[in-house]
């Protein structure tokens, strides 16, 4: 049993709450516990914020497509967005938090949060213009995905 839903947003931080709500509602159908869903929602927020800030430089003319695929024991969130640069979060090393606090650093915690909470992160450069960032959370045990659960299929557009 698997299902997938998508939304398309303009690349603006004002849409983060919409993205969080969308992912939370999609994840609820996966049978994941609330604490795990909270971790996934935060990771998605961090990923989306990074794309808006670093790949799109807050230019709202850009768009981000977010697809959530749920299966019995896994949730996969894919961000498709235009950018000439490929950035792979796996290449970023985690900050030394003792040094971080000692030097009153600001920022740079989004990727450590994603790495901590998600099972796998994949960055793909599909063609010269389109990048995909994929976050996967796999459960250790099969979830209680309702056999008859159906989700909305299609694309909702927020601008």
């Amino acid at each position: 049993m698997s299902d997938n839903v998508k939304i398309l947003i303009s690349s603006s931080t004002k849409n983060l709450s919409t993205v969080r709500k969308f992912v939370e509602e999609s994840a609820e159908h996966s049978g994941l516990d609330q604490a795990t869903i909270n971790q996934i929602v935060l990771s998605v927020d961090e990923a989306c914020t990074n794309i808006i800030k670093h790949a799109h430089k807050y230019n709202e003319a850009n768009t981000i497509e977010i697809e959530v695929e749920t299966e019995n024991n896994q949730i996969k969130i894919t961000f498709n967005y235009k950018s000439g640069n490929t950035f792979d979060p796996n290449d970023a090393s985690n900050p030394d938090m003792t040094e971080y606090f000692k030097n009153f650093r600001v920022g740079g915690l989004g990727i450590p949060i994603m790495k901590k909470f998600m099972s796998k992160i994949i960055a793909q450069h599909k063609n010269p213009d389109i990048n995909s960032l994929i976050l996967i959370k796999s459960l250790d045990k099969p979830s209680s995905f309702p056999a008859g659960a159906k989700q909305f299929r299609g694309t909702i557009v927020f601008r």
Partner: protein
Amino acid sequence: MEEFSITKKSSGDIEILNLEGFLDAHTSVELEKELESLLASNKFKIIVNFKKLTYISSAGLGVFMAYIENTRDNKGDIKLCEMSEKIFNIFDMLGFPILFEIYNEENTAVEKFSNN
């Protein structure tokens, strides 16, 4: 419901900010402005009450990192209180209790300032 709001009150020379809603990369700008305004008014003893805050991302955490040094250089502090377990877990997972004082009760945070 509003996405995010801040209500202020004073207790002697201590400023208390009550946060409500969610603190993310969009709404954290408002908190930045509020803290900047307090520091510009030479108010360095600040308590942030999280009781009605339902969500925080790293952008929200970054706001506290950006202003903590300035308050302490001026014999003040930013003390945090009344976080839900969900929000405390984010602060705790990243090690924020190393740098920040986090209290269950707002009164305790007020007393800590008074004792200094």
